[in-house]
């Protein structure tokens, strides 16, 4: 592949050092989640701490909610909460403090998986560029500095897609199932991505199954959870669908992608979809980008059926995650091109 052979003329010689610098910056910015008297509370963080504490105190994942007066069926998927619960029991650290610590740990893991996808689909410099763009995106920073299940979802979704890109079918199935139990919005983003990827690869049985089997595994896992917790597969009665009070993703929220990310997204799209990138990778990233864009603009879908409002705006974060990988291609391409041009200039 052409991407694998390109490098910016040894301008950067120590790639691991640069990745370490990016990870250090990630940790330094997020350290403030631990230095205050309480973790950041926007986004219902303390609600999740409450369910974790209840699980620790009773040794059971609660069947009934503590929210909104409590006493009704609790169907929030358990993976993130059980992760913090088990670590809290093992370490003896209070679940609120541990939630803050794990926010930093998971944010670092997200950086590493983004780097790995860039590395896999392009080369190590593309991976580094994507990791750099990740920390320059306000949207991704907003959702990776708070102790929320979506944080784990932002790790699980790209990890599953990484396994798909490596043709690791069993691992992709396993991580898709864990994603289904991590965060409902993440599951929707993953399911639509895998569905589109399967459609794109329908002519190749093996590649089709690579996307389709994790999709089925995730859907069955979630369906089983919902029947267990709510006694029904019907999801249309939930408040998010009834009230649709999410914020429509317009220019202001779009700008939260980050000026630097936006700057490199266009050349990144051009480079990725026109250069000799492996077809599998091109289709996987295209599926990710299209799926998350459709979900981000779900207000338009409601508009088509004559309804107003938006189901949820958080899908945008998954769109931005894909955008930083594409932007990584753009940043690498421009730096590489610039270097090639400059090397021809006589001193």
């Amino acid at each position: 592949m052409e991407w694998q052979s390109k490098k910016p003329s040894d301008l950067v010689t120590n790639r691991h050092f640069l990745l370490l610098v990016i990870i250090t910056m990630t940790v330094l910015y997020r350290i403030k989640t631990l230095t205050g008297y309480i973790i950041p509370t926007f986004g219902n963080t303390m609600y999740h701490v409450g369910i974790i504490r209840e699980t620790i105190e009773t040794s059971y994942y609660p069947s009934y909610e503590l929210s909104y007066g409590g006493g009704f069926e609790h169907f929030y998927v358990p993976a993130y909460r059980l992760l913090i619960t088990s670590l809290s029991i093992t370490s003896g650290i209070d679940p609120m403090v541990l939630s803050g610590i794990m926010t930093i740990v998971i944010a670092v893991l997200i950086i590493i998986v983004i780097y790995s996808i860039g590395y896999r689909m392009g080369n190590q410099y593309v991976g580094l560029s994507a990791a750099l763009l990740f920390i320059l995106s306000p949207e991704l920073t907003i959702f990776t500095t708070r102790a929320l299940p979506e944080l784990l979802g932002l790790f699980m979704l790209p990890l599953t897609l990484y396994f798909v890109s490596r043709d690791y079918r069993s691992l992709a199935i396993l991580t898709a199932m864990v994603t289904a139990l991590t965060h409902q919005m993440t599951l929707l983003a993953l399911a639509l991505t895998l569905f589109l990827y399967s459609l794109m690869r329908i002519r190749s049985k093996e590649k089709f199954l690579l996307g389709f089997l994790p999709l089925i595994a995730a859907c069955v896992t979630y369906g089983a959870w919902q029947v267990y917790s709510m006694g029904t597969l019907n999801i249309f009665g939930i408040a998010q669908i009834q009230y649709r009070e999410g914020t429509i993703v317009g220019l202001e929220i779009f700008g939260r992608m980050g000026i630097v990310v936006i700057l490199f997204l266009i050349p990144g799209l051009y480079t990725f979809f026109t250069d000799k990138v492996k077809a599998d990778h091109r289709m996987l990233l295209a599926a990710w980008l299209i799926a998350t864009f459709i979900l981000t603009k779900n207000d338009l879908i409601f508009g088509l059926i004559g309804e107003k409002g938006i189901f949820m705006d958080r899908f945008f974060t998954f769109f931005v995650q894909c955008a930083v990988i594409l932007g990584g291609f753009g940043l690498f391409y421009l730096l590489n091109g610039l270097d090639e041009q400059l090397s021809k200039v006589k001193s």
Binding site: L132, I259, D339
Partner: protein, 162 residues
């Protein structure tokens, strides 16, 4: 062009982009990291854990309610996940009405209607029950026919609903 000059150019470009990006991150992300609740509200949760029954139900704003839920597992009337709640907007309306009411009796009736046992009243900040930030009408909670002060510090007062 010499490799060292190209290296300096590349570093300049990358540093400029990084500084611009980090500035945007700081400006747009810092507000999301606010604690919102005061330190005294967090301290009060220890008293709540030790001095209220496990099924005590609290009137509190969304942020204060979630801190009570997070630290003590006592359910608040608003806050948490509303996806499956029977009447989340009704609860939001009633909590807002309890905080805004001038009449002790009206606030008390709403509290009793939800079987709430306690009310958290922050002293230094507004509360948010789902429809924006509001100032609390505090005087009504001093009527001992309906409410009894059971805990206070510089940031919060906890009343029992009589």
């Amino acid at each position: 062009m010499k490799k060292s000059i190209r290296l300096v150019l590349a570093l300049l470009i990358l540093s400029s982009l990084t500084i611009a990006g980090l500035y945007q991150v700081k400006v747009q992300v810092d507000p999301w990291l606010e604690p919102v609740v005061a330190e005294g509200e967090l301290q009060a949760t220890e008293w709540i854990s030790n001095n209220t029954p496990e099924d005590a139900k609290f009137v509190a704003g969304i942020f204060g309610g979630e801190v009570i839920m997070g630290m003590t597992t006592r359910p608040p009337l608003v806050g948490g996940d509303w996806a499956n709640a029977p009447d989340p907007t009704g609860n939001m309306n009633d909590v807002q009405s309890i905080y805004l009411a001038k009449s002790s009796k009206d606030a008390h009736t709403l509290c009793k209607g939800h079987n709430c046992t306690h009310i958290s009243v922050p002293t230094e900040r507004q509360v948010h029950a789902g429809y924006g930030w509001i100032d609390i009408e505090r005087e009504k909670f001093e009527d001992e026919m309906y409410f009894k002060l059971v805990y206070d510090n510089s940031d919060v007062m906890i009343y029992a609903v009589i």
